[in-house]
Symmetry: C2
Subunit: 244 residues, 2 copies
């Protein structure tokens, strides 16, 4: 891991861009910390780190205020990273189905999500190796937001992640419901009740499927991007309980 | 309203029992307050104030820590208040249905809940008149917990209640779903995902029915009495946002 930029934000948070091989990322660490700090991995939709930056930095500042570092890496096929043909095709198929007001088939969902999960999860684990080798970061690690299927797979395969805050706001392949049963870490699941791009019943079924004995569903009014401010406060409380 | 006892709890909260005509109640006020404080009405199941006291005083202490007064009154037909024959009959019918593992009919639910709502709501409003006339209590008023149908009716008919935290953990007459559509105040709804005495789908339908533009569902694992500690913290955050 190679740091490429470094700046102090107005609240003293240290923001550093890094490159992990070909993967760009950003690390935020609290203004002052006397001991190695816990880490939250900030998931995000595949729209590019640059586009997501305002929302990511807000979440990172909130994490830093609780004494946690936060990091995000560019998803495969997003931002300046090379596209791959199958993913572009799946996105085009999805757009066509949505514009024609047709149901989104299992095939489209699978080809959209499963390859993304298959690539993003080992990359996130590699980033975790690098981040946890820094003297200022100690763990434990939480995963927050982003493509929920990425979060599910990470929760199953990555034992260093001790708690996950998931956003039930993207298509979920049927195969992921089976993986959800294998999740046992504490979960905090956000659902927007009238999410235009998300099936409410599927989200409730997914919540039901998770194997965790501590899991909480927070459903709020509004569409996909209408998550209320106070929902962020509740999620921060969840991570404070599990990472401190 | 006539105060009958007065004591300081170890955290400085002032606890006073009162009688409002034939109705007993308890008022808790914060240790020190320089101005009239907001009020939370503590709803509770019809098991008697004395039996509910440990849980009520814990909720009252939490409210006082946020600078709010809290009050609870004995429900009609509970504690030392006179039973009425129809309610006793409805409870016996419910017990019989549950013991025989039969579905609880609409008739049983209606005869159990609707008369209770019809009596408890005006009594709560009378208590509100008396409590808000005290110089130390200013409002606004929140309603929290208890029989959810009582909370629904209060939210519809009582304009002094500005926010309600409801527990989707009791039978709801069909007629209350229509009333739920008329609720417009901010709502914080708790659901125990595996509540043994409560139908999950009915609770989700009820949440969907509420007319409020700000409504949040917090679903947690476990049975009726297994509401986790952190759920109380989130509910306290809801009231802090709306009563301060």
């Amino acid at each position: 891991m190679r740091f490429t930029t470094e700046q102090r934000l107005d609240d003293g948070v240290l923001e550093r861009e890094f490159a992990l091989g070909e993967i760009p990322g950003i690390l935020w660490t609290p203004a002052s910390a006397s001991a190695p700090v816990p880490l939250t991995l900030l998931g995000h939709p595949p729209l590019g780190l640059r586009k997501m930056y305002p929302r990511l930095v807000a979440r990172a500042r909130r994490a830093a205020a609780d004494g946690f570092a936060a990091a995000a890496i560019e998803l495969p096929g997003s931002g300046d990273r090379p596209r791959w043909a199958a993913a572009e095709q799946a996105r085009a198929d999805l757009r066509r189905a949505l514009e024609a007001d047709e149901p989104v088939s299992d095939e489209i969902v699978d080809s959209l999500i499963l390859p993304l999960v298959g690539r993003a999860v080992p990359e996130t684990q590699a980033a975790l190796d690098a981040l946890l080798s820094l003297p200022e970061i100690g763990g434990p690690v939480g995963y927050s937001g982003g493509v929920i299927s990425v979060g599910i797979r990470l929760a199953v395969v990555e034992p260093r992640i001790v708690a996950a805050g998931l956003f039930a706001g993207s298509f979920v392949p049927r195969a992921m419901f089976e993986e959800a049963r294998q999740v046992t870490i504490p979960l905090h699941v956000l659902l927007q009740w009238d999410d235009e791009g998300n099936d409410r019943q599927a989200a409730l079924d997914l919540f039901d499927a998770f194997g965790s004995t501590e899991k909480t569903l927070h459903a709020n009014m509004g569409g996909h991007t209408g998550v209320p401010q106070f929902a962020g406060e509740d999620a921060a409380g969840f991570f404070a309980r599990h990472l401190r």
